[in-house]
Amino acid sequence: MTENIRLAIQAIYQHRLRSLLTMLGIIVGIASIISIVSIINGNTENMKKQLIGGDTNSMRIEYDARSAFLAGESGRNDRLPDYAPQLSEGELQKLLTIDHAKNVSLFYEANLTVFQRDQQTDTTVLGMDRGFFEILPHTILAGRAMTETELQTQKQVAVITKELAEIFFSYRDPINQLIEINGTPFRIVGVAVSDTEQLSGKCVFIPRGSQSFVEGKLNQRPTVLFQATNADVLESAVVQASHELTKSIPPSDFVFSIRNYDEVQKMTDDINRSNMILLGGIASISLLVGGIGVMNTMLVSVTERTREIGLKKALGAKRKVILQQFLTEAIVLSVIGGLIGIIVGLLISLIALRLLEYPMTISLLSILISVSFSMLIGTIFGYLPAYKASKLKPIEALRYE
């Protein structure tokens, strides 16, 4: 066998140009598989990170009423529970001990009608703390942000978003104006605009402590905003955080789940899968072409070496020996092509992923598949020429000019 491989390499080396041109089909096929798989995976990872972590590497962990309900926690008249666990500051701080945790923030969110004099509009009201703006940065366009004291106490102050300010105060200065939320007046101290895409539209931010003023109307479900040090570790850290929250709240049937996580996972997986199917089609065509190239070259090689085959048979080589020799040559040819293809593919991947600023996702699996695929091509397309060679009659082959 090693002898066969040595002979095969020798034969391939002897016809360097022809071998290289033959391998080109396989090189291109394998290189495109490797690079496209890497780019698609990189794209998917990138998309997933943007969808789940946005540009702030943060995710929301919500009290999931439905899951809590299914877990046995029922509300009035067998509806979903309309109360939620209270999270203490200590429990919140515990999340910061999770590996790669950078920041956490607890907030309450509700969709309420907000009044300003004779105007009214449906707005998202967020009862938040200091960490919230740290994780989801905002730029203050007018006035100021809420002070530490305001955030820690029950001050009835609010920061509104630019979008809401434009509705209520198209020509006037909103600072120090009052808005009314659920019958409670709040004084506007600033107008802000979100720096990220994770939060947009009409919003009123109030200190988390002031939520008691709007209690009853304000959705009491706490949401934890969790920020990781970087996008790569976000997923694992946030899963850990949600487990931590679920088990830290007695009774344990309160359930915290990661917002959008499953959907994002499923969506990106779907996109990935359909991309891969498309790619698989294209790649198989190019590998088929490459395989035909191998077969063609091997047929030429068999014809060229008819006398050699005849002599070997005359000297006692059995059919199997000849078959193995040519099959080995076809496989070696394909595998060398495959290996060059992998190297080229990896180089293309590295350059493309760097240029596209996608995360590095070079899959070992695609390399393994490529190698076995090129072996398979060699075997399938090399079989016919090898079989032809093995069937040659020694006298006819020796007479061949």
Binding site: K312, A314, L315, K318, L398
Partner: protein, 224 residues
């Protein structure tokens, strides 16, 4: 021992058949030096193919050391050739990609002999044809006479008892021809059966027994 009993060989040609060999009866004992002569088209090549187990008779039987090869499969014939017959061809039929040593060792490779023994036996065979100092040479670095000696060494390496030489001097000049024929004579003295196929009387004269073939039949036989 080579025994041909009523060997006929026909080849189809269009709708008819040509009878290349017509009821050949021939016995060559072990240790003989025989030449088979004939013009081209006389059937001597076909006869050589049958003796060399490269082909089988259409009717009749061919016994090599008592074994009937007529009904053997291709792979069985390969094995017989490998073990019993050493071929020497007019145009040497050496593999240019391989070294002198590798060429000489080729039959041993197909006999399944291990690398070490292959080398030892091939070197020994090359030594007996006077090419001990050329073992690492490439084939194209050798002269015609040397090439034919490599081919003879290859026939010897496999330890075949029958050396079947098809026009072995056809591509050689006179001096080299004599050298090669002297080598065959020496091998015959060492106990090998040598069967020489040729159309040159001068070459045939080296053999102790001469057989002349014409139109597929043995027409003359004589010993020297």
């Amino acid at each position: 021992m080579i025994q041909l009993i009523d060997v006929c060989k026909t080849f189809p040609q269009g709708t008819s058949e040509i009878h290349v060999l017509k009821k050949i009866n021939l016995t060559i004992n072990a240790g003989e030096f025989v030449s088979i002569m004939g013009r081209s088209g006389s059937g001597k090549s076909t006869l050589m193919n049958i003796i060399g187990c490269l082909d089988t008779p259409t009717t009749g039987s061919y016994l090599l050391d008592g074994k009937n090869t007529s009904q053997m499969s291709e792979d069985e014939l390969s094995e017989i050739r490998n073990q019993k017959i050493g071929f020497v061809f007019q145009n040497f039929e050496l593999l240019p990609k391989l070294s002198v040593l590798q060429n000489a060792a080729l039959p041993l490779l197909y006999a399944g002999v291990n690398q070490e023994e292959r080398t030892t036996r091939a070197i020994h065979a090359l030594e007996s044809v006077g090419l001990r100092d050329r073992i690492d040479f490439r084939i194209n670095q050798l002269s015609g006479g040397q090439k034919q000696r490599v081919a003879i060494a290859r026939a010897l390496a496999g330890e075949a008892n029958v050396i079947l030489a098809d026009e072995p001097t056809g591509s050689l000049d006179t001096a080299n021809s004599h050298e090669i024929m002297a080598l065959f004579t020496k091998l015959n003295h060492l106990g090998k059966t040598v069967v020489l196929i040729t159309h040159e009387q001068e070459v045939a004269d080296y053999a102790k027994r001469q057989i002349v073939i014409k139109d597929g039949e043995v027409v003359e036989e004589g010993t020297r």
